[in-house]
């Protein structure tokens, strides 16, 4: 099977389970890894009682419960009170692990990488959280609204040095990123478009950490953006940009890369049905995401194991599969060292993902993170040790551990020699310490890095 030969109509048609491509634990685990941060055995078994499209629909529909929101609000207050961005990141990691709406959270992370803004420059945890809340509110909503809201977001405008945008000196920085990184992609606009767009944003200011429109600084002269004359306000300009046919193509490409596969790069023809749908839906993101997650291509071998786990997927995913919990501050720190600091993306371009997650320093760091979580004082799996957790789940031998990991955590087969080798090891360590040893060893396999 080769991506180049895939029929677009087949690719995005709903996946129907078959003998060749069964709806089993592995398939469900694949869905939960991509649409969220993984799932425990019970969630997977529950999912198998429904059809794949029903499970996807539930994921799209899911909302945070009010109990969960109350819990998060108190955690958030505590984190904000410290003023420490790492505490804020720890709080978000906790939210990702425990959320009843994992797809919403995954999409919030997607937008954080898309509209990347770093606390390193913004230097204000409250503004970072305001933006995070904004991203979550629109995560599966309308892209046009999100693009307008983010353009008034104080953290974003401070980050891109656009907090003052005066008539006499329009700031082109934000206008450029709107076109290049947020909506259209390079090559789909001219330098003239950037200058005109920047004029539309004149008078947009941040005063005392709030957005304000200063009409005395707004350039109300004639402006033409992307060939459309008579564009007046910043809001109108963003509508023009997001109405451009390149916008749905650009967003859909990024969604497919995020949810389906790192490589190879799909062609325009393959993406065309999704782009058309996004456009028909007036840039409502939810239905397109739903179609991607329930599609033939998504469940095909072309997607299975074809992404490198991001540090967040690795750390949160590992815990979620075993009902784990850990020291979130340490976890947030580790994510940063592995290249995915929450609230501190490396540049306005966000995280490139794919192979760039991997180098010798991060690979060792990933293995060490698993080791540290497994053996950390604050780590629990369903309120107990991993050995006890396995015992309670009827997982007693190394082969049963391998089977458990294979269906819940691994997207590609665990090499048989690995299980054999670790079986010997388990035999030598008769007490239950072999469980942590073996799980750590399995998670150092190259196979664990893809998902």
């Amino acid at each position: 099977m080769n991506l180049m030969n895939v029929e677009p109509s087949w690719a995005w048609a709903p996946y129907e389970p078959s003998l060749e491509s069964p709806w089993n634990l592995s398939a469900a685990a694949h869905l939960f890894r991509r649409a969220g941060f993984g799932a425990n055995r019970q969630e997977l078994e529950d999912a198998l009682k429904l059809s794949p499209s029903e499970v996807v629909a539930d994921l799209v529909r899911a909302e945070e419960t009010s109990d969960f929101q109350t819990e998060m609000q108190s955690l958030l207050r505590a984190a904000l009170a410290t003023g420490n961005v790492r505490q804020l990141a720890a709080q978000w990691a906790y939210r990702m692990l425990h959320t009843p709406a994992p797809l919403l959270e995954k999409m919030t992370l997607f937008w954080h990488g898309h509209f990347a803004t770093s606390a390193v420059k913004v230097n204000d945890v409250r503004l970072m959280q305001t933006q995070n809340t904004l991203l979550r509110r629109h995560a599966l909503g309308n892209f046009k609204e999100l693009a307008i809201e983010i353009s008034r977001d104080p953290a974003m405008l401070l980050y891109l040095d656009s907090a003052t945008n005066r008539k006499s000196h329009p700031n082109e920085n934000y206008a450029r990123e709107i076109m290049e990184l947020f909506c259209l992609g390079e090559g789909n606009y001219t330098e003239q478009d950037i200058r005109e767009l920047a004029r539309c944003f004149t008078g947009w200011e941040i005063k005392r950490n709030r957005f304000r429109f200063n009409r005395y600084q707004h350039d109300s002269g004639e402006k033409t953006v992307l060939g459309i004359p008579g564009v007046e306000s910043g809001e109108e300009a963003i509508r023009v940009v997001t109405d451009d046919p390149n916008a749905p193509r650009f967003i859909v490409r990024k969604l497919v890369r995020f949810f389906v596969l790192d490589e190879p790069e799909p062609g325009d023809e393959l993406l065309a049905p999704l782009a058309a749908q996004l456009r028909e839906n007036a840039m409502d993101i939810g239905p397109t995401v739903q179609r991607i997650l329930a599609s033939n291509l998504f469940f095909s071998p072309l997607a299975r194991g074809r992404k490198v786990r991001s540090p967040v997927e690795l750390g949160i995913g590992f815990l979620r599969v075993f009902d784990g919990s850990t020291d979130f501050f340490q976890l947030a720190d580790a994510l940063d060292q592995l290249g995915q600091g929450l609230f501190t993306p490396p540049s306005v371009k966000g995280w490139d993902g794919g192979r760039t997650w991997i180098n010798s320093s991060t690979l060792l760091g990933r293995a060490n993170l698993i080791h540290r979580m497994l053996n950390g004082e604050k780590t629990r799996f369903g309120k107990q040790s991993l050995a006890d957790y396995f015992a309670a789940s009827g997982v007693d031998s190394i082969d049963e551990v391998a089977d458990f990991l294979q269906s819940s955590l691994f997207a590609v087969p665990i090499p048989r020699p690995a299980t054999e080798r670790l079986r010997e090891l388990a035999r030598k360590n008769q007490d239950s310490t072999w469980v942590n040893l073996a799980v750590h060893a399995f998670c150092t396999l190259p196979e664990f890095q893809v998902a």
Partner: protein, 422 residues
């Protein structure tokens, strides 16, 4: 996806590993054979014949604005003593560079390098219309652009990117330190790890040789039928474990040829030496020492800082030479600005403009390079720059790292003449 297992071959460990020193000998031999043909001249170890991949840059950022005038001192100049009645350094105390100039007496380490012909002091480095904010000036040095220009990346980041280093399996550059990653290392395509210690380069496992062996051999097996992506991850894993082992055996085998100073900078540079000795393919190491913002009671504090830098850098240069990798090393020490010529009322100095940049390593034109900025021609009480900092970068890029200047600096700056034979 079917659950059939991929066929496996247990591959033997590759041949015996040569220690880095002897390996390097061969590397530079083969590189020079390629360059000069079979009649390789007897300059096998000269820097000019070094492969691009073997060249290492260590950047030492002296944050806070180093007082260049009390670092490279025009001690015979009456204007110098007149401007600094309380904090001027006496002619009898300086460590001579030439007839006019001397190093601060605390810079014994740098003076030793100078004697060995391993130190180039570029004088009066700065830029037009100097900014006196630490952050803004540091950002200008890091990015090469000013605030009103778009600046998303740093000069080293752009270097790594333009040289296509996104796909190296070892990190192309490393930042050693706890603080936030320097802007200079940022780029869109290449991520640079920040590590606080070598611990982060060590595979932590339970205390059991069995598991260590198991992990190593399992990652070493070749996987047929693996996707490109999995193949890449597997190759990277093997490299990572090898790097980690190299590091651990380097930790065991590597013995510093002399002890490093007991300072944070000394420990960081010792780590750099250890990483170089372990054969990591990293090209750029970045470290930072803070505290140069000497507004008050400057003399003692400044002496400590200069001693810290001089001792740590000179130890690094000597040690890396003793390990056999000396020709691969260039160290660059810079600060975001110099300080006001006239001292202030608190025995200190305020933010200024141009200052010296130090380059250390083999193959340099040793001594003071360029003119000391004249003390009778100041701009708002500050020294005028004679060399744009990008000319220093240009020399590092073109003559040391052997890459083009324009993609990194955005324009062709004339490299300052610091490398012998450049």
């Amino acid at each position: 996806m079917k659950s059939e297992f991929m066929p496996y071959h247990f591959s033997k460990q590759h041949g015996i590993k040569l220690p880095r020193r002897s390996f390097l000998g061969h590397a530079s031999l083969s590189a020079s054979v390629l360059t000069f043909g079979v009649t390789a001249p007897g300059v096998l170890c000269e820097a000019a014949s070094l492969a691009k991949e073997d060249r290492i840059l260590v950047v030492v950022e002296m944050a806070g604005g180093n007082d260049g005038l009390n670092t490279v001192i025009p001690h015979r100049d009456d204007l110098y003593r007149a401007a600094r009645p309380k904090i001027a350094i006496d002619s009898s105390d300086v460590l001579a560079i030439n007839d006019e100039l001397g190093l601060h007496p605390a810079m014994r380490g740098m003076a030793d390098l100078l004697e060995n012909g391993q130190l180039s002091i570029v004088q009066g480095v700065g830029y037009e219309n100097p900014n006196r904010s630490h952050f803004e000036s540091m950002d200008i040095w890091h990015s090469c652009y000013r605030k009103d220009e778009t600046r998303q990346d740093g000069w080293i980041g752009r270097y790594l990117e333009s040289e296509g280093m996104a796909s190296l399996t070892d990190p192309p550059a490393l930042h050693l330190g706890k603080r936030q990653q320097p802007f200079a290392l940022m780029s869109r395509g290449v991520r640079v790890p920040s590590i606080q210690s070598l611990e982060q380069f060590r595979l932590r496992v339970a205390d059991s040789p069995d598991i260590r062996n198991a992990i190593r051999s399992l990652s070493n097996q070749s996987r047929e039928d693996a996707t490109d992506l999995l193949g890449f991850v597997q190759a990277s894993s093997r490299n990572a474990l090898e790097a980690s082992e190299r590091m651990e055996s380097a930790g065991v085998k590597y013995k510093p040829s002399e002890s490093y100073p007991e300072t944070a900078l000394g420990r960081q540079l010792e780590t750099v030496a250890k990483l170089i000795a372990s054969g990591l393919h990293t090209r750029v190491y970045y470290v930072r020492i803070d505290g140069f913002d000497t507004h008050a009671n400057q003399p003692d504090a400044h002496a400590v800082l200069l001693r810290t830098v001089g001792d740590a850098v000179s130890t690094l240069v000597r040690d890396v030479n003793a390990q056999g990798d000396g020709d691969r090393l260039l160290v660059m020490c810079f600060s975001e600005f110099g300080r006001r010529v006239a001292e202030n009322a608190s025995d200190g100095t305020d933010h200024g403009a141009a200052g010296p940049v130090f380059l250390a390593g083999n193959g340099l034109r040793s001594g003071a390079v360029g003119k000391h900025p004249p003390l009778d021609d100041l701009q708002n009480g500050d020294l005028l720059h004679g060399v744009d900092f990008r000319q220093v970068y240009a020399a590092v890029l073109k003559d040391w790292l052997k890459c083009s200047i324009r993609p990194v600096l955005g324009a062709d700056y004339e490299p300052v003449d610091v490398f012998a034979g450049s």
